[in-house]
Amino acid sequence: MITIYISKDLPLIIIENVDYVYPNGTVALKNINLNVHKGEMLGIMGKNGAGKTTLIRTLNGLIRPTSGDIYINNENTNSKSIAELSKNIGLIFQNPSHQLFANSVEDEINFSLKNLYLNKEELQIKTNEILKKFNLDKYRDRSPLNLSGGESKKLAIASIICRAPEILVFDEPTLGQDAREIESFIKLINTEKEKGKTIIIITHNIEFAFEFIPRTILMESGEIIADGPTQNVLNNNFLTERSSLILPQTRQLSLALQKIGFQDINKAVSKNDIIEYLINFLRNKTTSVQEE
């Protein structure tokens, strides 16, 4: 099930025939072709070791493809340094402890902003603004290594977002986060999306992807095996089984309801569709009981 996206605009990210082989001979990416348009939100899913993280690390040059080309804003990334590419691409690592290294929370934000060559005053104003926005003000002088899991994830995100990159790439942002933290993350990506940012998210959280990510690619053994609207990709039993994913709870519920006679529920794919379907069903039932 491969969907080809046709748009009059040139895609913001063009990945052409990209392969990557690790120095030890492990083939991590095989003939990857992918286009992502400006303002799009793309999910990347697949088993551990499928090549998801390797793929996103090729975007800002941390890994250079063994063959093939990547174009960002119509410019080949091969000719650019990681620092140059990072102006456009903000990569948020899976493990915040791999991303945080400064002596204090404030220094951590300062490090990102200093590389934008702001003057001292601008730097201070911007740092304060970011710390307040992410509710990290109270930890200003604390070592990033002494923050809780959720807070350090928040700081890692803040340290990238403060640079205002055009493309945001998250590696497993919901991993180890509680419901409230996931909620505030969703708010954050919605705000960034409204600003027109392009967002790429690697996730194993099928419920999260199902509800919030419009387009998803599935990867297996370094290849893209499916690309299309998330609800179509994740509702496909064959694909989810192949990628060791469990069907979303909404899909499981609709299948269970179908078994007991709710045949037309198959059209309801999202949580809201099912709620609406059940409300309508109960409303009709109540009306018919009242009529009787």
Partner: protein, 255 residues
């Protein structure tokens, strides 16, 4: 910027003459070559010592990793050449390069062919306290882990716009400074985590320990060790008798 060369010190299980030797024999090898390298500061003797290591590397099936470790010395080599040529002579600079290559190669052979677990066992058999032997083998095993940690920090800094790929020797050296503090902090934090993990698994609760595996110093280990000691004696003899040695052995560059 890549610290992949540090993987050249990571043990890999292989079947070879060197891998099958007792770790103590390989420790003698590392020490023999290090002492020999320190005995001389002339090009030819150091070149001979360096070349004599190559067959060992080939028989040990570690040529690729050894080349990586030597390549990783390029910065240091440049530093040695500049400083020694400026303040002493080019001959001395080249000799010092061979000296550092011999010392790194000797320990690279040791690290690449000694299993950290066997190293702990051999230290214990040499009557070192268990805690010391364990800490030593643990530190040894952490070299590639620290290399990974350093690579993660480099990646994180570059991903936030820090220009690390600036060309030029001075820039490359400067680039290493922002890496040092976070790396030290992360390493200390990791050390505390490891200590807590060890204590939570009752490390050190029993004074008398028994071992599932034991290591033996076999005949081939004895032969190899005697061969190394003989080499060391020859080198010491050459050093003592250096004034009466043939001219080619004391050859220097005219500059």
């Amino acid at each position: 910027m890549s610290l992949e060369f540090l993987n050249a010190f990571k043990f890999m299980k292989k079947e070879s003459f060197l891998h099958n030797l007792d770790p103590r024999a390989k420790l003698v090898l590392a020490l023999t070559y290090t002492i020999s390298a320190l005995l001389f500061n002339q090009i030819i003797p150091l070149l001979i010592i360096f070349l004599s290591l190559i067959p060992l590397v080939i028989f040990g099936k570690i040529l690729k990793q050894w080349i990586k470790s030597i390549r990783g010395l390029s910065f240091l080599v440049l530093f040695i050449i500049i400083l020694n040529t400026l303040f002493l002579s080019l001959s001395f600079a080249i000799a010092m390069i061979f000296r550092i290559c011999i010392m790194v190669s000797a320990f690279s052979i040791f690290f690449l062919t000694v299993d950290p677990n066997d190293l702990a066992l051999s230290l214990i058999s040499m009557k070192f306290p268990y805690e010391f032997a364990f800490s030593f083998s643990l530190a040894f095993r952490f070299v590639p882990t620290i290399a990974n940690e350093a690579q993660n920090i480099i990646d994180a800094q570059q991903s936030r716009g820090y220009e690390m790929q600036k060309k030029g020797f001075i820039n490359q050296i400067k680039n290493l400074f922002p890496l040092l503090i976070p790396l030290i902090i992360c390493s200390i934090k990791r050390a505390f985590n490891v200590a807590e993990a060890l204590e939570s698994r009752a490390f050190g609760s029993k004074k008398e320990r028994s071992y599932y595996y034991t290591i033996k110093f076999s005949l081939k280990d004895w032969i190899f060790t005697i061969y190394l000691i003989l080499i060391l004696i020859i080198f010491i003899f050459i050093k003592i008798q250096f004034s009466v040695m043939p001219d080619w052995l004391v050859w220097r560059l005219p500059v």
